[in-house]
Amino acid sequence: MHLNPDLILLWLVRGLGTISAILVLLILLFLFKEAFPVLREVGIGAFFFDAVWQPTKGKFNLLPMILGTLWTTLGAMILATPLGILSAIFCQFYAPDFLAKLYRRLLELLAGIPSVVYGFWGLLVLVPMINRIQPPGASVLAGILILTLMILPTIALIADASFAKVPTSYLTGSQALGISQWGMVWGVAVPAAKSGLMTAGILATGRALGETMAVLMVCGNVVKTPTGLFDPVRTLTANIALEMAYALGDHRSALFVSGLMLMVVVIGLIAVAEWVVAEGKNYG
């Protein structure tokens, strides 16, 4: 029988597409498969209410790490969101064209620097500086500062793109009314680009939550709920990176539980981002 090449092509790309589509499911499946033994044994509660994190002794309190991730991410978002949005405002409304282009290129380069290089610079430059203010230096603050640098380009570039989509008629309209530049930006452009700005924030949050190497290198990695900015801290991701190499049995399984937690949060964030985009389309 003569086979139609177009049909072969269709089934070939359908096959390849299916593999791409099921990757996320596979990831969830394998995380769950590896996490399952310890979940069945001790339940989800143990990860929040056990006394300490001593996985080799059956104690699985992940709370210090969860809080570590939370504080560093939150801190970085508080710093990076305004800085990123202001950077985008600079590109769109203040800088001459060539400078805006140059700055965008710089942001792209910043986004492309490997996290291990950020971590390395943080370890050798930032941590000693903080150490001079208050030892030990490797701290929540160091993590926040490094994460800020890392997610700022993401926020700035997405915000820049969403400002670019604001219809120029809005802007010229407000200029015709004699509204100042500052007033135009805050009164017209920012509200008009709102859904894009929120998406930028959400995606950057995901990036900060999942970042591993840089925080691993600058945060000190002590398993203890931090009480101040200068305390060392260990994040969920750093915990996985540090212990995975030698973890066995329930310990290994517990690390997969923390991976599963990260995955669930990230999927939730993406769902929210999609919702924001859809809402923006409806009302923007």
Binding site: P5, L10, L16, L31, F90, I113, P114, M213, G259
Partner: protein, 281 residues
């Protein structure tokens, strides 16, 4: 009135201060690495093996391992990515449930933290497939990671090809396969190349997904099933686990950043030539 003017000026000053600060920090990071690292780099550094856990000696096996990991990563992700993009664009499956499903999964995949890719690679490739800590495991893990990036860029390339080409070819009785091969894919080439280069950039920068898939071993790999250490892991290991490893860590970071800057330049060169010559070949 005067008050508002002052507010405006203050705002303007503030707005200019931020990019200046960020530019300064960028130069600081890059400058710091190059300042300490350039002196380390010579032929010997590039072409000899590390000695004493990397404190001295070079990075030859690390460069080789990195190249192998990238090769496997791109070798697997390119056909997958191009195939998926072709499905999404050329077979207009995008509005059907299946197309939507693929798009949703890819959006999610793009947001998965790299350490989670590492866990997944460890569970599937290292354990279930029995590949152990190996270059193959690492490359396959990275292939999953760069896939969304690759598909997006390939899709953009395919969508930039005018629909009139497809209609014209179909009306001449040219099969879809031949149209794709001779007309659409060459016209979308800049999109693939851009995706390819971006994918390499992302993969070469990655560390967390490799620590427990490709492993740590800094010897010259003799096969894909050997563990191999990437440039980024070498930097991490020297900085964190080896005392007096900083000098060579700087050298390795300089090599890594130079490679990335070259990749970046290549991407923008492709972007520029694309817009100029797209319809003239």
């Amino acid at each position: 009135m005067v008050k508002q003017k002052w507010g405006d000026r203050l705002g303007t000053g503030f707005i200019w201060a931020i990019p200046l600060t960020i530019t300064a920090i960028f130069l600081w990071i890059i400058g710091d690495v190059f300042w300490h690292g350039l002196g380390q780099i010579n032929w010997q550094f590039l072409f000899t093996a590390p000695i004493d856990a990397g404190r001295s000696g070079g990075i030859a096996p690390i460069l080789v391992s990195t190249a192998w990991i990238l090769l496997i990563c791109m070798g697997v992700s390119l056909p997958l990515g191009i195939g998926t993009a072709v499905l999404l664009v050329e077979f207009s499956d995008i509005k059907t449930g299946f197309g939507q499903l693929i798009r949703r999964s890819l959006d999610t995949l793009a947001g998965v933290p790299s350490i989670v890719f590492g866990l997944f690679g460890n569970a599937l490739f290292v354990k279930v497939f029995g590949l152990g800590f190996s270059i193959l495991s690492g490359g396959l893990t990275l292939a999953c990671m760069v896939l969304p990036l690759l598909i997006r860029s390939t899709e953009e390339g395919l969508r930039a090809v005018p629909q009139s080409y497809r209609l014209g070819a179909a009306s001449l009785g040219i099969s879809q396969t031949k149209t794709l091969w001779h007309l659409i894919l060459p016209a979308a080439m800049p999109g693939f190349v851009a995706g390819f280069v971006l994918g390499i950039g992302r993969a070469i920068a990655e560390t967390a997904a490799l620590i427990f898939t490709s492993g740590y071993v800094d010897r010259m790999p003799s096969s894909w099933l050997d563990s191999g250490r990437s440039l980024s892991i070498h930097i991490y290991d020297l900085a964190m686990n080896i005392s007096n490893g900083n000098a060579n860590a700087y050298g390795t970071a300089t090599v890594l950043i130079t490679l990335l800057l070259m990749i970046n330049a290549l991407t923008s060169w492709i972007g520029a030539t694309w817009t100029n010559h797209h319809f003239k070949f």
